[in-house]
């Protein structure tokens, strides 16, 4: 780390007599200790210490630096723990030499650059970055050898150039695509690349990366010379997503800062800063023609932007978890996305609507690439890589890796490169029986993968043998030759037959496997359904609740009626007790009371009936509610059982088939040995 920092800040100017300046000295001090909390994204106390201009502007309590007066500069006072709040928080002071730099910078008049004239504390508005120079020369040897292999995070391949680019620690490693041997090493003192992309022609390579939670940005190389053509490391965390536009004029970069920057090369001037993402940007890609760009974040959101205007074209919402990869299809008409939610989705770029969706790796998808043959390759947490037709048909499936396949790249028709959690790089020629791996921790040893990754039978289908092993036969005596020849011919035919049979069997096996997968899917769907129709249940529940409310209100009415009845009776009793002279009045009142109580009785009867009805309805609703959960389940359970039985039968059949294949192969081997 210390070495890295030394490389990054190049020369410690301040040690000599030279004036201390922001660019040369203080920026690095602030970056190391302060900008984590005082940056454009998270300006604590409204203070942004990432840039000369914003440092001079100060915080909500005004200026934080006063030229020539460290004792009046809040920045210095709090950092030196001379004033509250002591910074950084947590009670620890920054190293004395850094503090000294800060003081000398303030004393020296707040220079922006070593050549600036001391004077006004207001910003020099024009911020011109010097054009990047290829400060780091490419090297033929590894810059760094790790303690252990770390996961392959950044990976790309270019079929045209025959190269695989691979992110290492403080280096980008270019491998020869065929031999998987070291071709070139591009030093990357910035840290660790998180994303690598070749331009379409393979002439340029971009790396997004940096040091986690400290610094980040993009670097662009000319692949042929290994020289840097552009670089911008202005961020405070690694760039997780980076891409080059097809014409090589633009670059994009995004990461934990939740922004996507569109940069004009080679000076890396920000053309647009797109800040709609609410979480880390995990992947971004230009469309094949470069008119659009798509970016995806950890919250499950995908945005499609117009490259020139920076306007949002589509907001694609659907994924339930982090979107880990985006890929373009159909020349940019369709966007494909994959997510930790396990699904792969396709979106129509004319309408912005989701057009396809299937479960690619139920535990989560880690990466996605569109192959040059127009197929899709996905890597998932189930430790498999799958290749799909764009309609969802599974074309190839790898066996389970021992560790997670973390990243994918396409090397051309039928050739895929897979990067793994344990640092392994695997080339998978999907149509051939060829899988090669390079384990980086093992320095450069190339070995066949057979031991690490058992090849899938569909990938390694044995081809019918075309070469009769007969060259040795001519040495035998002539008399035996004819007999031997005919025997050999017989064997040959039989071998051919067996081979044919075994490849038929294999085809059958593959078909059966597909069928099994299909049944699995159906089963999943049924299981989902059998949990009951949630809408119906919700409806019933609501009905139940409202009935319950109705019932209690009726009950209340009934109680009120009863109370009225009670008070009427009391009145009647009182009336009866009144003296005679009120007789007439009393009789009249009694009559009225009688009528009233008759009405009351009627009303109470009605209310009681309504109550009874209500209760009956409630009961029925309860019944239906329990049925809605239960009956459906029973119905589906039968279907599930059937499907499960079907599955079992298929699996048994598969086992027999595999057994037959094995015995056939054995027989074939036996016969082949007999042949000479």
């Amino acid at each position: 780390m210390a070495a890295l920092v030394a490389v990054l800040c190049v020369v410690p100017h301040a040690l000599g007599d030279e004036a201390v300046s922001f660019k040369a000295d203080v920026r690095q001090v602030l970056r190391t200790h302060c900008v984590g909390c005082h940056n454009p994204n998270r300006a604590e106390a409204d203070l942004d210490l990432s840039d000369f201009r914003t440092v001079i502007e100060g915080s909500y309590s005004g200026e934080v630096v006063v030229a020539g007066k460290p004792d009046e500069s809040l920045l210095y006072l709090v950092t030196a723990h001379l004033e509250e709040p002591a910074m950084p928080p947590g009670g620890r002071k920054i190293p004395a030499e850094d503090l000294d730099l800060m003081r000398r910078w303030i004393e020296g008049g707040l220079l922006e650059e070593p050549s600036s004239a001391p004077g006004p504390t207001k910003s020099t508005t024009k911020v011109v970055e010097p054009a990047p120079e290829p400060s780091v020369t490419p090297s033929p040897d590894l810059v760094f050898r790790g303690v252990h292999a770390s996961p392959v995070i950044a990976l790309d391949a270019c079929g045209a150039a025959g190269l695989v680019a691979l992110g290492g620690q403080m280096q980008v490693i270019l491998l020869d695509a065929d031999s998987l041997t070291l071709n070139q090493v591009l030093p990357y003192p910035e840290g660790e690349p998180q994303s690598l992309r070749f331009s379409h022609d393979g002439a340029l390579l971009i790396a997004g990366g940096g040091e986690h939670a400290q610094s980040g940005g993009v670097v662009v190389w000319d692949v042929a010379t290994g020289g840097r053509v552009a670089q911008s490391m202005e961020d405070f965390d690694v760039a997780l997503a980076a891409d080059l536009s097809p014409d090589g004029r633009l670059a994009i970069s995004g990461g934990p800062e939740k922004r996507l920057k569109v940069l004009a090369l080679p000076r890396c001037e920000p053309l647009h800063v797109l800040d709609k993402h609410t979480d880390w940007v995990l992947d971004a890609r230009f469309s094949p023609e470069g008119l659009l760009l798509a970016s995806a974040d950890r919250d499950g959101a995908v945005y499609v932007w117009e490259t020139e205007s920076g306007k949002t074209l589509h907001t694609l919402r659907g994924h339930q978890d982090a979107v880990t990869g985006v890929a373009w299809l159909d020349g940019g008409d369709t966007l494909t996305t994959v997510s930790e939610d396990g699904s792969l989705r396709q979106w129509n770029m004319h309408t912005g609507k989701q057009t396809e969706r299937w479960s690619a790796h139920p535990d989560g998808v880690l990466d996605l690439v569109a192959t040059s043959g127009g197929q899709l390759a996905t890597a998932g947490r189930d430790r498999r890589v799958r290749i799909w037709e764009t309609d969802g048909e599974l074309v190839h499936e790898s066996n389970q890796f021992e560790s997670l396949p973390t990243t994918l790249a396409c090397l051309g028709e039928g050739r895929l490169v897979i990067g793994g959690q344990r640092g392994e790089v695997v080339r998978w020629d999907t149509e051939k029986s060829h899988m090669v791996a390079l384990v980086l921790s093992d320095e450069q040893t190339t070995s066949t993968l057979a031991a690490i990754l058992p090849p899938d039978p569909s990938v390694l289908a044995p081809k019918p043998s075309q070469q009769p092993a007969a060259s040795m036969v001519s040495l035998a005596p002539a008399s035996e030759v004819n007999g031997l020849l005919s025997a050999t011919q017989l064997l040959e035919t039989r071998l051919l037959g067996v081979s044919q049979e075994s490849s038929d069997l294999l085809e059958e096996t593959v078909a059966l496997k597909r069928r099994i997968r299909l049944v699995h899917d159906e089963l999943d769907e049924l299981t989902l359904k059998s949990r009951g129709d949630p809408e119906l249940l919700a409806e019933l529940r609501q009905a139940l609740e409202s009935k319950d409310v109705e019932r209690s209100s009726i009950q209340k009415t009934l109680e009120q009626l009863r109370a009225t009845g009670q008070s009427m009776q009391e009145t009647q009793e009182r009336l009866a007790g009144l003296p005679d002279h009120a007789q007439e009045r009393v009789q009249q009142a009694m009559l009225l009371q009688d009528i009233a109580s008759e009405k009351l009785g009627l009303a109470m009867g009605q209310a009681e009936q309504t109550l009874a009805e209500c209760e009956a309805a409630l009961k029925e609703l309860r019944g239906r509610l329990s049925e809605a959960g239960g009956v459906d389940f029973d119905k589906h359970r039968k279907a599930i059982d059937t499907k499960q039985r079907e599955l079992l039968a298929y699996e048994e059949e598969l086992a027999t088939l595999l057994q037959r294949t094995a015995s056939l192969l054995q027989a074939k081997d036996g016969q082949a040995q007999m042949a000479p």
Binding site: V35, G36, H212, G423
Partner: protein
Amino acid sequence: MAYGSDKQRGRTSGWLLAILVGVVSASAARSELVIYPPEVSLSGARDTQSIVVQQVSPSGLTRDVTTEARLVIESPAGVAELDGTRIRPVSDGAAKLIAEFGNDQAGVSLRVEDATADPPLSLRQDVMPILMKVGCNTGKCHGAARGQDGFHLSLFGYDAAGDHFAMTREISGRRINLARPEASLLLTKALGQAPHGGGPRFDEGSPAHQTLLRWVREGAHDDPPEIAEAVRLELYPPEAVLAGEGQRQRLTARVVYSDGSSRDVTPWAVYLSNNDNSAAVDEQGVVTSGKSGEAFVMARFATFTVGVPVITLPGGSTEPLEPPPAWNVVDEAVHNKLRKLRIAPSSVCTDEEFLRRVTVDLTGLTPTAEQREAFLSNTSPEKRSELIDELIQSESFTDVWTMRLSELLRIRTSNQVSYKALLGFHNWVRRQVADNRPLDRMLADVLSSSGGTFDTPSTNYFQIEANTQQIAENVAQTYLGMRIQCAQCHNHPFDRWTMDDYYGFTAFFAQVGFKQSQDPREMIVYDSGQGEVRHFVEGRGVTPKFLGGPVPDLSDADRRHALADWIVSDENPAFARNVVNIVWAHHFGRGIIDPVDDVRISNPPSNQELLDLLADELIDSDYDLRALVRLVCNSRTYQLSTLPNETNKHDVANFAKASIRRLRAEALLDSISLVTETTDNFPRLPVGARASQIADGATSNYFLTTFGRAPRETVCACEVDVQPNLSQALHLINGEASNDKVIQGGVIARLLEDGSSPEEVIDNLFLRCFSRTPTDVESRKLLADIDPSNPQERLEDLFWALLNSKEFVFNH
């Protein structure tokens, strides 16, 4: 040694203490030196042991002399070496560690195995403790439900495998960098090299840093499945009694693993004190005394929390005060504790005070003038005891305890529970109390009951609450006083309960079946013999396991019977302790463990000896409620005055004086009705019934609700609210309970009609309300204000004022 000793040990230590005290007072005392831990066993090159040497003076004061004592490792030489107060292994073998201080000497055995072995670090044994110690996985940091900025760790590390995933594979290469270990975000953030919302958590080169870095260097592997689990945590010394402020006492913590190995985890345990004022503890486990008082200092490691009591005495105090003679065993236990604290109990209360206090506590009513007369005129020396016996046999006593038990069992009507079923349950409980049925059998019956809610009323317990998890939580809280809710989603942060314990206990109620009876209001509870509970994190079915006990053999018992038998058995000390604590709290306004339904390691009893003693007495009396109440009320401790003395004025937890308690809602209303000679009319009860007789928790009135009657919606002991508030005061001033009842009852009018003079009426009112005659000053002042020709209104005002007085509303 953990403080939560079992019953047996509690009893023994009580005896020991008694003997010790006897010895001390009898013979010339000398101090004693003790080394902790009681034996040192080191295994592997990394294993070290910090030791503590404590001097115990004859008066019970302790002093940490670890650095002052002369420490020697005796022959054979070269087995281990001393590094300050820490022992490091050198070569395999056994030796002895000797400490000398003044004239005292102590020694412990020392054993070293595999002195040169340095195996790779373990996630669970080495890394997880650091995440907890430095605070990564606390509730406000990455242990929060959503973690921090996407990085979520299990709360206090209950899911090591999940945390390993989060660190290594959730975002490959970011949090752990295997190629450049020191660039791992896990380290750069915690060191403060990268900006970290939680600030720096440890220093470069610190043991925490070195351990994490080494683990990453070794490949950041998860543990093999057979890794030994921590099974026990030990904390030493078992007790400290410090005199004056600023005294220090080191602690040493040791964890024992399932493979029998042990390890010093003093630097990795998390320390907390429940009373920083009296004894603060720093993160290295050093206790510093403060103001006089007592504290419980705890260490937390893995899923364990253990604690030791630390008492801080005023500076300069040496000899304990000799307490007054004990009246019964309860006083002995209380005085033993008070002696340690140098607290003297208050004097004994007057007969009048005692009469009112015991009558209110035992019957829920204030004593009448007649009762007072009878009691005061009794000349028997045993008259207090006789009064207690008389009250215990009264109907009102049965009412009070039926009410208390109904609260615990949550007897209340609801949509599911009809009044008929409820009344059956209530009457069943009342019959049990009236017959003085042993409490263990009664409560076990409830747990294991099956049948119709009308025929077998105790089955209502399962209709009142039918949710499996909720039942289990209720049973734990009601029967054992333990709150296990936390462990539903994560291991209990302040207790020993893990999710395994929670779901193991819940599983006992997984097979409660319900079916409808002919009467739609009746439900039949039975054991369906099927149904399992699933573990929240791991999703597996969990087999029933007693809370803090073994996995039972359920081959020929249904689950609830097995549980009920275990809960009330001697194997489970928690039940008897819980019952006595509830009874104790009823009479003192505060439990020995307080609140009574929050028993946990981090909330220890204020007097373990007392709790154990009462539990033993309860078991010996065959769970006789009345015998227990008799024992408690006959103690000098119950009969203390509320007036404090110089030594006990700040103490609240050790029962050195009587506490002043507001009457609970039912007792207050019943007492108002009693003294005003009025009646109340509660729904579904005959006119004149008492509030304490209401069967249904859902029945209430404004007065009862205002004064905090338990609605019995939860099992929480906090439902009975005796906190005073403004609406209570306003209701007594303006509400129908005081003014209307004074008028309705017509007491004043009747007394005047009978020819009483205003003076006599005043005396009568004081006797009614306060069980005492007015003082001369009171009489004189009151009389001065009364017009003898028309005294009624003024006297009624006085009656109202008495009902509003604190002396009436409080039991004292």
